[in-house]
Assembly symmetry: C2
């Protein structure tokens, strides 16, 4: 292709992406509306709509409103034209789902699974669950156009490979993308689970227009996903927001698994709280309502005890909330977000957790940084990471560059070679 | 203007901005090169070049290389078509300069000035210095197309007004933009000084392609400018990077002017170090080479003493470096930059400052976040804030929206109404 033809093709793809975007997001519903909104001539609009209909991305379904004269055909996005597969691999569980091309999760499954069993065991199970879900939800065409995976550790986003993930033995540099792409013939993107939660809240959650957002997950470990100016902030190595190893106690004697002392995670994370509960039980202490062994106590047991007013459990969670509050005060000063969302089992453990975090942040951050700040809990039942994974795929799939490959080949397989 | 005409005008402005950008950045030098690079037809290229020449933004100056046949006219950006005025208002000094349309500082002045004297005193002096510089450097046409101001406090970027700036009494919500716009008839942008330093290093300093960068200034106070994905990160209120009031010592008895205890600035900032030196002198202590009163000791006196090996001064700076190192370890974990640049009088005070900061950051941040991290000093003599102010103006001035107003009116005054 010479330069001029190349340029003309880029113009064509620009206009295709523009038209698709307007229909996909429901802002226009007919050719006359497209022409009005874009200023494209009638010929160009007709050509682009035909191309998108040929690809199956849009369909005519009835009549749109007339602005005088005969009512035009109503155009709709074929959100069930194909499926997206999404999965969140947690430390001790996996969630998988299928989503439409608008990112709606239409079916999902969740089950216990140890990430430490390594990539072959875990991904074999994910593939089985994907296959079951696809068989039960074939969609209109049954094709899979994209796969999004969240993992509980740092990821090099370009390559889709985990990078020295501390709680994922056997996963370092494992080619998750290549494995799933060769099995499903669809492009695969991988990111850190907390980044996907931030994306999920931003695009399909409680963000409501907040373009500077911090999502903090306090589960076994502690991590944050950062949205700045509406974009996920990944940093140079893809580990921006890796806040679990920030020192929150100077001269602390609390040793973290990373080798340093006084890390946020070692003081306020779920694993650290459980460790302290085990020591308490092993030393002869009791926890209200719990009669198991020291070794088998869980965060759920501690949360139940705390709800019942057990002093030891309550102190554990309140202490965690105060430490997380101090960590967040720092994050708020640096990022100046308008919304902080808390997620994870520890944050959801007790009614007072959010209240304590708020008290510390508003007392400790600068007045200006907290002037219009909201701190809220993520809805615990919502599959926010799965929704974020779907949004990640959609963002990549309907960008101009990817769309071009797709439309020109009428097959998602062409995407694979260019997936970044 | 109806919708189609509006769209055609946007297309025209897009192509104008594209052509100007290629010539301005030196990537093309003739009409045939523009056609090759953009795919625009010869008629469109000729029209856009004519418009830009009419506006005086580009000129023909000789012959460009031929690719066969007659050599085409060589096109160059008129970098001296007009002037930019830039100023950095510090706590105790002001710097002003004039820059070309490429952002080169062609003349500058620096003199003592107390920001605490309030906006009328300080800005009257800035205006006098601007007028002197313009009279001495009229440029080809003598017009002023944009003004950029850095101030030592938080700024609401949209309005260009300081917001509760702690060390700027009398400046809260002062209309800096309106005052200078009505005097010079050119658009004005105002930002925090450290943000401009970060922008200066990123666009015209030592960044060398680093798109994730943290600039930390350790002067009287402590502040940071954050570049993520190549963009300045301002946050929701414009105070992202306001790191001076992050708690770096828990349960500290050191009271900060913000009302909290243990803030980075109260422990490691220049004002805090001076306060300790005054107490040391007032209590009968000595500082090598200094024979003035306790009240009149300066950071320069302390830096000289430290260079001579004075134990007290050395301990002050080394302690500050360790505290700043811990603050930066936190920033590095959150932002994951590839480059951290240190600036400000305290950071430049002693040879060991950078070494200590590096030691703490590399020992305390996660291995992945520091894998490809560089920590460097800003060049002390470079007017990095002035260069950043010029880059801020250029970024706004040559955006599509602003360019449209400019070209259509042939006057920068049209910009004023739309400056954001």
């Amino acid at each position: 292709m010479d330069d001029i033809a190349r340029r003309q093709n880029l113009d064509r793809l620009d206009s295709l992406a523009t038209v698709l975007d307007l229909i996909r997001t429901g802002r226009v519903h007919s050719k006359p509306e497209i022409a009005r909104e874009t200023g494209f001539g009638r010929t160009v609009v007709s050509m682009r709509v035909s191309e998108l209909m040929d690809s199956g991305l849009i369909v005519e379904d009835g009549l749109a409103q007339s602005s005088g004269g005969r009512a035009p055909r109503r155009l709709s996005f074929s959100e069930s034209r194909a499926l997206l597969l999404v999965a969140e691999l947690g430390a001790t569980s996996i969630s998988v789902g299928v989503a439409t091309l608008t990112g709606e999760i239409i079916a999902s499954r969740r089950e216990p699974s140890a990430i430490a069993d390594g990539p072959d065991v875990v991904l074999t199970r994910v593939e089985t669950l994907f296959d079951d879900l696809v068989a039960a939800n074939p969609g209109e065409y049954g094709e899979i156009w994209g796969i999004g995976i969240g993992v509980p550790g740092p990821v090099e986003y370009r390559s889709g490979r985990p990078v020295s993930p501390p709680i994922m033995p056997g996963w370092d540099a494992y080619p998750i993308r290549e494995r799933l792409e060769s099995r499903y013939g669809a492009p695969v993107w991988v990111d850190n689970d907390v980044n996907l939660m931030a994306l999920g809240e931003h695009r399909a959650g409680i963000a409501d227009g907040a373009d500077n957002l911090v999502f903090v997950k306090i589960g076994s470990g502690i991590g944050a996903g950062l949205i700045s100016n509406g974009r996920l902030q990944r940093g140079d190595q893809g580990v921006a927001g890796d806040v679990g190893h920030i020192e929150i106690e100077a001269d602390s004697s609390v040793l973290c698994r990373c080798g340093n002392y006084g890390c946020a995670e070692a003081i306020a994370g779920g694993s650290a709280l459980l460790q302290r509960a085990r020591e308490h039980l092993a030393g002869g202490g009791s926890i209200s309502g719990y009669d198991g062994t020291a070794a088998s106590v869980t965060l759920d047991d501690l949360a139940s005890a705390s709800q019942r007013g057990d002093r030891f459990a309550r102190d554990l969670f309140d202490g965690s909330a105060r430490s997380v509050g101090r960590l967040l005060a720092t994050l708020v000063n640096i990022q100046n977000p308008s919304l902080v969302v808390l997620g994870g089992a520890v944050a959801g453990s007790s009614d007072s957790y959010l209240a304590i975090v708020k008290e510390v942040v508003f007392g400790r951050s600068t007045a200006l940084a907290t002037r219009d700040l909201t701190i809220a809990m993520s809805r615990p039942s919502a599959d926010i990471a799965l929704r974020g994974a779907a949004q990640m795929i959609i963002e990549q799939l309907f960008s101009r560059d990817e769309l071009g490959h797709w439309i020109d080949s009428h097959s998602p397989r062409a995407l694979i070679a260019t997936a970044v």
